[in-house]
């Protein structure tokens, strides 16, 4: 890409700001929808308000942190096996 080329509309800061706002609205809407549906709880905690939302958020943050922690021990430079 040369410097004078017009930035694609999707990567303009303005668009990205709107994408974030739209994203928040959608997130709020799917949680709000919990008021109107009857969640069939198989166990107990999964019937609590917005369970699927916060569970998804928490486990993902957990997995990223776990991966990061394991990475400390398991990561190597990508030339590690090069001298085989």
């Amino acid at each position: 890409m040369n410097e004078t080329e017009e930035k694609h509309w999707l990567v303009k800061p303005e668009t990205i700001r709107w994408l974030w706002r739209g994203g928040y609205v959608i997130l709020a809407l799917v949680v709000f929808a919990d008021f109107f549906i009857h969640t069939h709880a198989y166990f107990q905690i999964d019937g609590s308000f917005g369970f699927y939302a916060w569970y998804g958020l928490v486990v993902c943050i957990g997995m990223v942190i776990l991966a990061k922690a394991l990475g400390i021990f398991l990561k190597r430079k990508d030339t590690y096996y090069d001298n085989e």
Binding site: Y42, F43, C60, L74, D78
Partner: protein, 564 residues
């Protein structure tokens, strides 16, 4: 010989031998037409067992046609067709030929009606898939192919031992549901699990598949692991240990894919993750779970191939495969981007995609059986899939920073193959009843309830939110992550080298000590007996020699007299 006596997989294996010798034009017709002929063969088979061949005291049954084998054979032949379309311009004929033998033997495995014919096709599959890796044709793919081959020969030997012990103890070669209660069945289970990339030998998959060519990886992703899923589904439904093995594979796949920088390695780690869902479902073992596994294998082959096709298109057009080198490609590769995103949404089981209608059956079966921990882990895993494959792959390849690369979309045949599979992903997601009708058990499951759709959207969208919140932690680095192959690439050779060094050192010490003793002894003797009167410098008169010769002759004369 009637039509039903002809095993459909064999047609593809025959085709493999034709591919290198026919002209370019006929080859194109052959590789596109043959999978469709095979599909027709599969569906013209009546239910039952055919193509029986006697072998010594046993009877081999090459075709057992029922809903389960038909389902797997169908998706294998559709995969071969779409993959051939994608590989239409592939110039490595060895790869194309190997792919057809590979696909044919995979279909052979799912139609095999007894353990011996299963093993025969199992081994052809190992050999042909090794050739697919090997045909990438560089030194790296050679090394990788040899490692891949060793693991599969090892797995095949374990399977063979299991089969022989099992046949010896039961007297039957039948391949039906088995109980995990003897040495033979345990070995068979281990043999199957090695091909499913289960721990501890799971690293072969991420080690080898990404080193194949841009087309080779697409085919590799489909057959070996799913043939193993079929074998487990047929042989070990409801075997509880599979639940734990499956859950391990699910999270292993997620964590390693999160750490990975190579786009195709991200996707192959997620094969292990997805096969983990299937293995877990086989462990749960209810009709709902087994239906879910079969459906998930079917949809998985399509969206995983689609994802690897889009990654292959990027590799083909840019020659780059690391996330750190890529980004911003959506601007010049719109078709590849959209198809890649559809594949990513399907693997994440977004509503209206194929993953939604298959994976939820497995999750549902865990809830139905009140497997509380399993259910929570599967739900966490569903979130994790979106994280590691659903967003990570498209984000780092097609968006993130602008890499400045502006490659166009790939040639028409590759685009068409991607569009075909993307269409299937959406089609199966919107009309699940067509897939449900093919499943081994009757389906009473309804995926599209308002509650289920909202719940799934909550999980997925908040996983996506977590991804962008954690983006600073996800920054790609020029690293690899040590996996199980580290043991046989570094640790075991290291130990072996060390032991050899020790042995050499001991050997050297022993030889030197012995030599020193010998030298010392000789020096002592020569010193002791030197000089005029010494043993070594004494002179002997010629007369005594003449006398001893006379004695010898006399003895000879005497002996010849007494023997006559």
């Amino acid at each position: 010989m009637t039509m039903s006596d002809f095993p459909p997989g064999i047609a593809l294996i025959f085709g493999a031998f034709l591919i290198p010798v026919v002209s370019q034009q006929i080859r194109s017709i052959l590789i596109l037409g043959l999978p469709l002929v095979v599909l027709w063969l599969i569906w013209s088979l009546p239910e039952g067992s055919f193509a029986a061949v006697p072998l010594f005291d046993y009877q081999l049954t090459f075709v057992r046609s029922d809903s389960l084998s038909r389902l797997f054979a169908t998706i294998f032949s559709i995969m071969t067709f779409a993959g051939s379309l994608y590989a239409l311009k592939q110039e490595r004929l060895l790869e194309l030929a190997a792919v057809f033998a590979y696909a044919g033997s995979a279909i052979g495995v799912v139609f095999a009606g007894d353990l011996i014919s299963l093993f025969i096709f199992w081994e052809i599959m190992a050999l042909a898939s090794t050739l697919v890796v090997l045909s990438a044709g560089n030194i790296l793919s050679y090394q990788v192919a040899m490692r891949y081959f060793l693991v599969h020969v090892f797995g095949g030997s374990i399977l063979l031992v299991g089969i022989l012990v099992h046949i010896h103890s039961t007297g039957s070669t039948a391949f039906d549901a088995m109980q995990l209660n003897s040495f033979g069945t345990a070995m068979i289970l281990i043999g199957f699990l090695i091909n499913a990339a289960a721990p501890p030998l799971s690293a072969w998959l991420a080690d080898s598949y990404p080193e194949a060519s841009y087309t080779g990886t697409v085919f590799l992703s489909a057959f070996t692991t799913k043939a193993a899923v079929y074998a487990l589904l047929r042989g070990f439904p409801g075997t509880e240990i599979l639940i734990f093995i499956g859950l391990f594979m699910i999270f292993y796949g997620i964590i390693y894919a999160l750490l990975e920088n190579d786009m195709r390695r991200i996707l192959v780690y997620s094969i292990v993750n997805q096969v983990g869902f299937m293995v877990t479902g086989i462990g749960i073992g209810t009709e709902m779970a087994l239906n879910g596994v079969a459906a998930h294998a079917f949809t998985h082959i399509i969206y995983k191939a689609l994802l690897l096709m889009s990654a292959g298109a990027v590799l083909y057009m840019t020659g780059k495969r690391k996330c750190t080198d890529l980004g911003g490609l959506f601007q010049s590769m719109p078709v590849t981007t959209v198809c890649g995103i559809i594949g990513a949404l399907s693997i994440s089981s977004f509503p209206l995609t194929s993953g939604f209608i298959s994976k939820s059956m497995i999750n549902q079966s865990a809830a139905d059986e009140s497997l509380i921990i399993v259910w929570f882990m599967l739900l966490a895993a569903s979130a994790g899939v979106f994280l590691h494959a659903g967003i990570k792959f498209p984000w780092f390849v097609f968006f993130q920073k602008d890499s400045g690369l502006r490659p166009p979309d790939p040639p028409w045949n590759m685009k068409l193959a991607m569009i075909f599979f993307a269409g299937l992903c959406i089609g199966l997601g919107v009309y699940p009843e067509y897939l449900y009708a093919l499943l081994p058990y009757p389906v009473a499951y309804q995926p599209y309830t308002v509650t289920h759709v909202i719940n799934m959207l909550q999980v997925l969208l908040f996983s996506g939110f977590a991804f962008f919140l954690m983006l600073p932690l996800m920054k790609r680095t020029l690293t690899i992550t040590l996996d199980g192959d580290w043991f046989y690439r570094r640790v075991f050779p290291g130990i072996f080298k060390y032991l050899l060094a020790v042995v050499w050192k001991i050997d050297k010490t022993i030889r030197q000590t012995f030599l020193a003793r010998l030298n010392g002894g000789l020096a002592f003797l020569s010193q002791r007996h030197q000089g005029i009167s010494g043993l070594l410098s004494r002179t002997y008169p010629a007369g005594s020699m003449v006398m001893w010769v006379a004695v010898m002759l006399a003895a000879y004369l005497f002996l010849s007299f007494i023997t006559h």
